[in-house]
């Protein structure tokens, strides 16, 4: 096996997805244009060109507790990385696909429970899930294969608020082969995008200091600043509330040069 993270770790991993099979991965592969990273051979690992979005597919031959650790290393993830577990599931009492956030995970064999964080997820439907093999008939509760093991590992690795256990529950009459269905794709697109946006908002609250640094980095990439101006800019940014900065970003991007950026920020502080 190749040594992980040995050379190129200049990128920032923003999102990590874990799925159980290629059907569940397909949406993410298409949506983010993910490519298989052949150098990682324990699990199928995919990433986009910018290397800010990563995906791993669980393997039946390896304990699912290894998947988050392996992906964490491959993706060079940090405490600001958003983790999304996604799986299809089936429920007998549904008429149409439902996107659900899981806030209670029950281990089928031991009946032990885990409770993914549900802070700020008020808009989403929430249910509990059993962690076991998916059975496609007569489902009255959600079953998500491997989820207990994956969550148990993840919650020790990363910030609990940034782990999202998600499922698209479908009426049991659906078959997995139906997943090309437009409704399903559109549901996935709508809710996964919403979660990614929400997690970005949440990070501003969780890591206000990091938000300044990321903001500083973004501004520095877009405009030229002298060393003196960089110091002025850094000190100015520290005086802002992260949400005010976020609201100003669009305006700042329209400005012509670094001097205008500094003047604009000074004005806003008056």
């Amino acid at each position: 096996m190749e040594k992980l993270n040995s050379t190129d770790n200049s990128y920032i991993c923003e999102y990590c997805f874990i799925v159980n099979n290629i059907s569940e991965a397909q949406f993410f592969i298409n949506r983010f244009n993910l490519k298989l990273k052949k150098k990682y051979n324990l699990f199928p690992i995919f990433s986009n060109q910018k290397k800010n979005i990563w995906l791993a597919i669980n393997q039946d031959t390896i304990s699912p507790t290894v998947t988050p650790i392996y992906l964490n290393n491959c993706a060079n993830a940090n405490e600001q990385t958003t983790w999304i577990f996604f799986s299809f599931s089936f429920l007998s009492n549904l008429n149409s696909p439902h996107f659900i956030i899981i806030d209670e995970i029950i281990d089928s064999s031991t009946q032990n429970k885990l409770y993914p964080s549900v802070s700020c997820l008020t808009k989403f439907e929430k249910k509990n899930a059993l962690s076991k093999e998916q059975i496609s008939q007569n489902q009255e509760c959600i079953t998500l294969k491997n989820i207990y093991e994956i969550y148990k590992t993840l919650e020790k690795l990363v910030n609990k608020a940034l782990i999202f256990v998600t499922t698209l529950s479908m009426p049991e009459k659906y078959e997995l082969s139906d997943i090309d269905n437009k409704t399903i794709k559109s549901e996935q697109n709508k809710y996964i995008t919403e979660i990614m946006n929400l997690s970005d908002e949440m990070k501003i609250t969780i890591f206000p200091f990091f938000y300044f640094f990321n903001f500083f980095k973004k501004i520095k990439e877009e405009f030229k600043f002298s060393v003196y101006e960089q110091n002025v800019l850094e000190n100015l940014l520290k005086q802002f509330n992260p949400n005010d900065l976020k609201n100003n970003l669009k305006f700042i991007k329209k400005l012509k040069n670094g001097k205008q950026v500094i003047n604009h920020l000074k004005q806003k502080l008056l």
Binding site: Y115, S117, S119, C120, T122, N128, V158, N159, A161, I206
Partner: protein, 332 residues
């Protein structure tokens, strides 16, 4: 609106649990074995949870009443505190609760009787000694009263004894249980107070100072003993004018015959709590004035602390004729 409520299995049929749950008909209820499964987990975000806190109903098994820290008291020889709840619905920027727990979710212990039993045991153990029991150390005593009905229960069942004082510390306007009951000399409703402009900046989500003063007026008009807690005293460029105006307004409004005591406490944080809170509000005005570290505690400079306390004490002495008890509170 509380979106999700976690309930310990052991108290799921407790009458108080059922009564609380009946007030949240649309919330999702999740049954758990121990509150620590949710509340004590590491890698939680306090600030994020504060935006959308959950409720946890649990049973407290021990340590119902604890010794208050040195320097925390209003004249009794022994001081204890008890908390039927951890965390607070308000979001005061200086509050030490932000650095105390990893979770911002509301944790309510429903076995209120056990708190009173331990209070009774401590009174027997310390027979003849004056004791103050403080409610509102790990939470605001009254802010969740509509949900918990703790004060209502307490007023119906507390142990009356001349040597014992109970203090309910609050910023809340939920004073109904007191308005419904006969005043008692043993019970003090103490309000934490800041000048209006500072309260607007720092007492996030808490009732305005004018409304707090209105509640104080209502309580004294009925004969309840009240306490004024200028804790923390917060420095800014206009602090003298602000505190003068605040103290004048309060003392003009309330019936000072029922003013039990006044206490002052400077803005102070143990190092670890200071670091946690400072990281939550980078560059905030709260920490921008005259802050320094002394013996692992972050506070204003000694001379600033002393000047503020002495100035405010004099304002009280000038205005109040009766011998009002004035205390300094320095828990760290």
């Amino acid at each position: 609106m509380i979106n999700t409520i976690y309930v310990e299995n052991e108290i799921k049929d407790h009458s108080r649990t059922l009564s609380i749950l009946s007030k949240f008909k649309r919330s999702r209820i999740i049954y758990i074995n121990k509150y620590s499964e949710i509340f004590n987990k590491k890698k939680q975000s306090f600030r994020l949870q504060k935006k959308d806190p959950l409720l946890i109903l649990a049973k407290k098994n021990n340590n119902f009443v604890l010794k208050a820290p040195e320097g925390f008291g209003i004249g009794a020889s022994i001081n204890y505190y008890f908390s039927h709840m951890y965390n607070c619905i308000y979001d005061c920027k200086y509050c030490f609760l932000q650095g105390l727990y990893s979770s911002a979710n509301y944790l309510v212990f429903v076995n209120y009787e056990d708190f009173l039993n331990q209070i009774k045991n401590l009174v027997i153990k310390n027979k003849g000694k004056s004791i103050t029991f403080f409610s509102g150390y790990d939470c605001d005593s009254l802010a969740m009263e509509k949900v918990t009905s703790f004060a209502d229960f307490f007023l119906k069942n507390y142990l009356e004894n001349k040597k014992i004082t109970y203090e309910f510390r609050t910023k809340s306007l939920q004073i109904n249980p007191f308005l419904k009951n006969k005043p008692s000399e043993n019970i003090i409703i103490a309000y934490s107070l800041l000048p209006g402009d500072l309260a607007q900046k720092f007492d996030i989500k808490a009732p305005s100072i004018n409304l707090r003063i209105k509640s104080l007026k209502q309580l004294t008009s009925l004969g309840w003993q009240i306490g004024l807690r200028f804790d923390p005293l917060i420095y800014n460029n206009n602090w003298k004018i602000s505190y003068k105006e605040l103290i004048r307004t309060i003392l003009d409004e309330i019936n000072t015959n029922y003013l039990h005591s006044v206490s002052f406490g400077s803005l102070r944080f143990p190092k670890q709590i200071f670091n946690t809170i400072n990281n939550m509000y980078p560059g905030d005005e709260l920490f921008s004035h005259n802050f320094e570290k002394r013996d692992n505690v972050y506070s204003y400079k000694d001379e600033v602390e002393k000047e503020m306390i002495s100035y405010c004490k004099n304002l009280i002495y000038k205005k109040v004729k009766k011998d009002v008890q004035i205390f300094s509170c320095t828990p760290y």
